[in-house]
Each structure stands twice: as C-alpha cells, then as structure tokens.
C-alpha cells in the first residue's frame, strides 16, 4: 500500500457528478415513497371525514392507527434526509476523521433499494463497534458505493452479501463475501482497474482472496 501522502491525482469530475447523481436519485426515490404513504393516509382521513358526514361511526382507535402510520413515515423521512445531509457535507473537507462503520451503514441504507432490486441483501458484521479513520470521506463513500454496485451487477439470482469490518495496525479492512457463489477473478480485475485513482485518493487497496473468491478493501489511516 502506498504510504505517502494522499494522492493529488485528478479524479474525473464527471465520475464524481455521476456518483452524486446516483446517490441523490436513490434518496429522492425513497422520499417519494414516504410522501406517497403520507399522501394516501391524508386522503384516507378525508375519505373517512366524508363518510362520517354521511353517518359512519368511526372509532378513535382507527384515527390513532392512521396517526401512527403518518408519524412512522415522518420519522422515516427524517432518517432519509439525515443521510442526504451527511452525504452533502462529505465534501466540506478534503481529509477528515470519521466513524467508518456509521458511514458504511449509511451507504448500505442508501444503496439498499437498488441492491434489493437485483436480489442483493446486505448484512454488516462489526468486529469493532467504533472505528475512526482519517481520509477523504467523499471518495470513501464513492468506493463503498462502487463495490456494492459491482457486486449487485455480478449476481444473477438472490444472494446475501456480508460486509465484515475490522481495524488492525492502523489499517481498516472491509471484507466483501457473498453467502452463496463467488466473484470471478477476471471481472474483479476489470473493476479493480477502474477504481485505481479513487484507491490512491483514500490510500486504499484491494486484495482478492483466491481461495474464498471474496475481496477485501484495505485503507490506511492517515491520522499519524
């Protein structure tokens, strides 16, 4: 792994914009679903109000159920917007210290709908609860997204992806393992070549595990 300072290689602006576009598109889709549920519940209240005017008896419990549903969706929307806000602020500083597990969880949630559309369910295993590293947050998110996207495109039937995270000797590791099946080395190598500039940006590297046909993303903590 390159031990020097964070790379000054220029990363194509177009790729960064595409990545930001994909993330915000996914978030806006999730928000639309939330709004659709709130809209239907508001509509149902209007329907019930009209029916009550015509003599229908309505139990307070029914109104409570609807209010709870709206409340749940507002809370869900708040979580989604918090993720959008976190993503938007990821470009504030070039290098910063952050909680990697929390950022990975956030990217998994944003990617979830896209992954599930391809049959990919993602599980995160934390060997250590809190792992803080110092690197470029935007590119860190970018590479996590690209890994998930590569895997979702690699599978051809329903599968579970296990992400196992660990931190030793000032290096942070994420192991990407499919529960059934494996990655082809050839397609992994093509993916790896496309990611070289981002890897340099975050002082990271990929290690392909030939025996288990899984791969590891390793990132050096630039804190020291």
């Amino acid at each position: 792994m390159n031990d020097s300072k964070i790379s000054s290689n220029i990363f194509p602006l177009e790729d960064s914009l595409k990545f930001s576009g994909r993330v915000t598109a996914s978030i806006s889709h999730d928000l639309k679903n939330v709004l659709a549920i709130i809209n239907e519940n508001a509509g149902l209240l209007q329907d019930l109000s009209l029916m009550m005017q015509e003599g229908l008896f309505l139990s307070p419990q029914k109104l409570n159920v609807i209010a709870n549903k709206i409340e749940n969706q507002v809370s869900r929307a708040n979580d989604i917007i918090s993720r959008l806000n976190q993503f938007a602020h990821s470009v504030d500083e070039d290098i910063r210290e952050f909680d990697v597990v929390q950022v990975i969880e956030c990217m998994i949630k944003i990617f979830d709908r896209i992954g599930r559309a391809k049959g990919l369910n993602i599980e995160l295993i934390k060997q250590i609860e809190l792992i803080k590293i110092k690197t470029n947050l935007f590119y860190f998110q970018f590479i996590i997204w690209d890994c998930l996207d590569f895997i979702a495109k690699s599978i051809n039937k329903e599968n579970i992806l296990i992400l196992s995270v660990n931190f030793t000797d000032n290096i942070f590791y994420i192991n990407f393992i499919l529960k059934s099946g494996s990655f082809e080395e050839e397609s992994f190598n093509a993916f790896f070549n496309n990611e070289k500039i981002i890897l340099e940006k975050i002082m990271g590297d990929f290690i392909f595990n030939i025996r288990e046909k899984s791969f590891i993303l390793a990132i050096k903590n630039s804190h020291n």
Partner: protein, 142 residues
C-alpha cells in the same frame, strides 16, 4: 359492476392504505408485495387493471410488465412509480402499459385510469368474442 384491481408494490403501508381507499370507492382490490405472487394471481384471477410499481425487489417492473403481457396480452397495466423518468415511461408504454402515474398519486386520476382500463379490457374481450362468433358462423353450416 365493481372494478377488480391488483395492486403490486413492495411498500406494505402504501399498499394497505391505497387498497382501503379504492375499496371505499366500491372496487375489489387484491394486493401483492412481490412480483412472484403476481404471476400466481393472474393465473387464477381476472383483473380489470393491474397497478404495478416499477422498482421492486428481485425483478425490475418493466420485466414484470413484459411477463404479464406475455401470458395475458389483454391485461391493462398502469405503472405507478416513485421515480418516473421519461426514458422508463416511454419503455413501459412501448411494452404495452396503459399509462404511467407518478407517486404521490392523485386518487381521482388513478380511478379515472382504472375505469379506462376496464373499458379497454371490455373492448378487447368483445372483439375476441366477435371473432369467435364469426369463426363459428363460418365453420358451422347453419
């Protein structure tokens, strides 16, 4: 007669409340949270309209649309989506969808589309029946 509708979406809360609202308006509504169940249902039931979400787990909505129309070309499918893009909309219409509505949905617009779907289906079935009758007239000596 009440319109019979199949509502397909992976958002359970959305499906439940829209089902209740359509039923309050006299429609018969069945639901499916997965594309797989749709194929079982259309084998055994007849629907005036299928309201189908474009993005669901395991199978893309456009693929589901194609598979439905392969088995039941007369089926009237209304696409409902949270992320309508012009491109996807055109693709869905080319594949044979009746219409595309974006979430959050206007219930009156949806009801209008369901009624159009019912009318279209009746027309197709009438034409089918007419052709069967014509064949009978030609093949039978009377």
């Amino acid at each position: 007669m009440a319109q019979k509708v199949l509502l397909v979406d992976d958002e359970q809360d959305f499906v439940e409340v829209l089902q209740e609202r359509l039923e309050n308006r006299g429609m018969t509504v069945q639901t499916s949270l997965t594309p797989q169940k749709v194929f079982d249902k259309i084998q055994h039931e007849n629907y005036d309209a299928i309201i189908l979400d474009l993005q669901m787990p395991e199978m893309d909505g456009l693929t589901v649309l194609q598979e439905i129309l392969k088995v039941h070309p007369e089926m009237q499918v209304i696409i409902l989506t949270g992320h309508a893009t012009v491109d996807k909309g055109i693709k869905a219409m080319k594949l044979g969808a009746l219409d595309l509505i974006e979430k959050p949905v206007d219930i009156n617009l949806l009801i209008e589309k369901i009624k159009t779907a019912e009318a279209n289906k009746m027309l197709i079935l009438d034409e089918k029946m007419e052709n069967i009758m014509k064949d009978l007239m030609i093949n039978k000596s009377w």
